[in-house]
Symmetry: C2
Subunit: 206 residues, 2 copies
């Protein structure tokens, strides 16, 4: 790997952490550039023009090319590695959980953590406040589905850790910060411990 790798990120974000965790598990060094999304540092003209027209982090920069979307960045990093199954069904099943994560999990579990732990309930808009019970129910449904799936499995796909686990781990292990009770999901609890025991594991605060 000869090209310089730079991560444009807001480090408390689980989406950014996924990329750092993937890189750490594979022993790939990353340079890090921090943006404070609470100060709209990813909505400046310079960021929108040079880094991501979508105004979002994370973006991984590979040489002079920019790749937005956390799960796409993980797929680039893990290309050809043990973190992506080679079997055709398992590879698609890994993507299945990664799309589930972005559609059913992140907009609920991550958004409530952002609203409640980072912005603060008092500073939310009326529209955000009315969405809290909807997002709570959506997040609990996603966690319930994960817990059921993990009841008789060590990892989401196959017999070892894949990007599906990394994508879902990122916001699940800090879901308590968004008011979710992880004690209600015992199979998730065992899986979280399994992920954290992987050689090369890195904490979200590292």
């Amino acid at each position: 790997m000869s090209e310089r790798l730079q991560l444009h990120e807001y480090s408390p974000s689980g989406n950014c952490y996924k990329i750092r965790l993937t890189a750490a598990l594979l022993g790939i060094p990353l340079e890090r550039h921090e943006y404070d999304i609470l100060k709209s540092e990813t909505r400046t003209p310079a960021f929108l023009t040079e880094v991501n027209a979508n105004g979002r982090i994370p973006v991984i920069q590979i040489g002079d090319r920019f790749l937005p979307e956390s799960n796409a960045a993980c797929a680039w990093l893990a290309h050809g590695s043990r973190l992506i199954p080679s079997d055709r069904f398992d590879q698609a099943d890994m993507l299945r959980w990664m799309f589930f994560e972005q559609y059913n999990h992140e907009p609920n579990v991550a958004t409530l953590r952002f609203w409640l732990a980072m912005i603060g309930e008092a500073a939310l808009s009326d529209s955000q406040r009315t969405q809290i019970p909807i997002k709570r129910a959506g997040g609990e449904a996603a966690l319930g589905l994960m817990d059921e799936h993990l009841t008789d499995r060590a990892f989401f796909v196959g017999e070892s850790l894949t990007l599906a686990d990394i994508a879902l781990y990122a916001y699940t292990h800090v879901a308590g910060e968004g008011g979710f009770d992880l004690g209600a999901y015992p199979a998730i609890g065992r899986w979280l411990a399994r992920v954290a025991a992987e050689p090369g594991y890195l904490a979200i605060t590292a």
Copy 2:
């Protein structure tokens, strides 16, 4: 391909259409099973137990294995085909647009089509009604980003059609049904015509 392929679907859904379009472009036959989501036919105990615990379509059934999530089903179908770039960056960049589709595009563009054209505005809940302007703005932002990207490109990634185009085409070409004005996005208009001209192309109503 020796295993029987069955698509569990609600045929007007763009997510289901993506899978039919991918299969048609690759000449892969699919058996189709229709469920009426307006009658909650994907929330029955039998569906939840046998097809998808998440209660959603589409699900592609490969022999006796079930694979939910539209973009994962497309990836399974297109494995090793011309619809997935072999280049490492382009392959991740294709996934980038597919994750963008599920996160920024579908929850806005597809949801407004479902609410306004299928459920009907009069039958919406108050909570749904208050979300219309938010989803309108989100959908317009997604379409604007796509239009800008397509200004000097024929397809989303590389020089030919990939799953990124199929994923984004599905709900974009019927966005007018959700009240979006596609006339405001000329580069999208040219790209829609390009996709529809692909050999093997199939209409959403086919």
